[in-house]
């Protein structure tokens, strides 16, 4: 890619980095001690904002001083990452966390000290940079692993390549959601909802049945836990286009957790969850009630100890305290049976696309 065509978010991020740099420079020129201000991201500083239904960071801020022996290595690492991000944005390059680590790892001259010894150090420094700049890493051109597919009545534009991509003309495969979707623009949108599906096989068959066409839906397959690129894509469809989002997972604690992460993000990522979560998302199934309603009992699986433990933990999550979810989780703890999306295939291969989902959508039978 040419280094000249810069995408708008790249300009904004670059400006923020330069501001930090200039501020430090001025302090140095004045002979003052330099430090970085970093919002604290420990659990003690993470708050569930009930009104906006988001996990957010509290007000606590830490100062990291260059001239404090306990801070100076981390200070250097943070600046190295800041500087690396500047280069990425200037040169319109994109890397993974692992590549950033390799790019920055070296031995300091005349010493045995490495800039970074392990990837978790550069990862942590990047989180600090995200906090300092108040920008997600994708807007610094550092992506997570790409995972997830999408089809539907929508034309997107990839502004990196200038390609217009019609997501209703991509056959059985669909478009592979990249690690970073910040440069994607939504052009023509004819869909009125988004359905997110945990399992590949269900996504693929819904695509083959052209469910997206009949039901005017954008179908996103997450292949298990949704990657950051997919979550951001879902969020943008919801927030920028106002499309409702419905999530279909297995009827088990892992499925609920996948839903939870799409909705609110994980606690680890509290500082970015407002950017990656879709609080308005609803759970379309498979619910514990569905198991009875659709007589799936013979196709359920015995829960493991691990599942039961997980379910009890989830019961205490703020957003699972809704009575409907409490009922759901209690039902699971009582029956100790879980069901996969694929269990719906026992009712026929067209059951999911022609009966189950249409009924759910018509009756608005969702969990909050």
């Amino acid at each position: 890619m040419s280094a000249k065509k810069k995408i708008k978010y790249e300009e904004v991020s670059l400006k923020k980095i330069k501001e930090i740099g200039l501020k430090l420079l001025k302090k140095i020129e004045k002979g003052e001690g330099i430090y970085l201000e970093i919002p604290i991201r420990r659990l003690s500083n993470i708050v569930f904002d009930k009104e906006n239904k988001k996990l957010i960071l509290g007000e606590k801020i830490a100062k990291r001083y260059f001239l404090n022996v306990a801070h100076s290595k981390r200070f250097m690492q943070t600046l190295l990452v800041l500087s690396f991000c500047k280069t990425l944005l200037e040169e319109d390059e994109r890397v993974s966390l692992r590549e950033m680590f390799y790019s920055l790892k070296r031995t300091l001259p005349n010493s045995k000290e490495n800039t970074f010894d392990e990837q978790r150090e550069s990862d942590a420094a990047l989180v600090d940079v995200e906090l300092i700049l108040d920008v997600i890493r994708e807007r610094l051109n550092i992506g997570a692993d790409p995972k997830g597919n999408v089809v539907g009545n929508i034309v997107i534009k990839d502004s990196l390549f200038g390609h217009e991509i019609n997501l209703s003309k991509l056959g059985l495969g669909g478009w592979a959601i990249p690690s970073n979707v910040e440069h994607i623009e939504f052009k023509k949108v004819n869909a009125d909802k988004v359905i997110v599906i945990e399992k590949n096989a269900a996504w693929e068959r819904l695509n083959a049945h052209m469910f997206w066409k009949k039901w005017n839906a954008i179908l996103i397959g997450t292949k298990g836990q949704a990657a950051r690129g997919a979550r951001r894509f879902i969020q943008r469809l919801n927030q920028e286009l106002g499309l409702p989002v419905y999530v279909l997972t297995d009827a088990d604690p892992y499925g609920w957790y996948i839903y939870s992460v799409i909705k609110y993000g994980s606690i680890n990522l509290a500082h970015v969850s407002d950017r990656l979560g879709t609080p308005e998302a609803k759970f379309i199934g498979v619910s514990m009630t569905d198991i009875e309603r659709y007589k799936l009992q013979n196709w359920t699986i015995k829960a493991k100890e691990f599942d039961l433990k997980r379910a009890k933990e989830l019961m205490n999550y703020e957003w699972f305290k809704h009575p409907k979810w409490q009922k759901e989780i209690k039902k699971f703890l009582k029956t100790k049976r879980k069901a996969e999306i694929e269990a719906l295939a026992s009712k026929g291969l067209k059951f999911l696309s022609e009966k189950y989902l249409p009924q759910k959508l018509k009756e608005e039978d969702f969990l909050p």
Copy 2:
């Protein structure tokens, strides 16, 4: 999809199933005992065909009798799967292995006996069906997990949807390779080689750098071990279009194994490896020699016991007995260091696309 538009391979598979069914029916009508003839797929019947460089099954065949108590359950299961495949092909449906299991699992009337208790039983029955019909499961419309992306100067046609898809117009994401590519046709091909890449990040950056355009290559990202759909796609590009295939993996035993599976298939899948393997594939890197040549030593990782054990096993694989590979593996066992593709990022973010791969291609510096 309409049940009327049938794809050619579906017709062929359907015909084979009907022939088996009719043969059994005739025997029953004559009052003869019925059985199925199934090629044996134990290691004792797996041969490495040196001339064609393929793992193939030997001549040994087992008979499975309906009226033998030890055989009859398995006989029933095999027929259930055969019959299920017939339905899939007739109705142009596509399922995963897991969905097939759910579709077929039920309790036999007036008994406590299930058709299938666990998925491994229906999986095994399907392998028998593949052997009986001499057809890969994809041609029975049963796919594995979809995984892998592709971009490049090629237009494909998805005959299930009738979509023509230009793989050079799909932005950063690319086309997601589906679980089944039997219905894909190659239309306009302007590429002259295929490069298969183990790691997402490297695939994505090569795409962003438009390496595929400059080097006239089709870029396939496998995201680790290549899924069946991706392997079949690679094989078809090689066999039907005559394109050479180069595989880029980490410099470690797991990377070599990924290469080995793309090239020859795994022993488990010997009966289909001739359909899913690409014996002509070459290894483009990262090689142990590259570590020295490109001074990557400081970015290598200490091998674990597990790696060393695996390397010793690989040394005995027929296709790693080539002197070049023996040298490569011995170098690893001596240095006990491995290197990831991402380590190339230590030489700059354009190193892979502008120096490493071009040099390898120009010098034809490949391992067999």
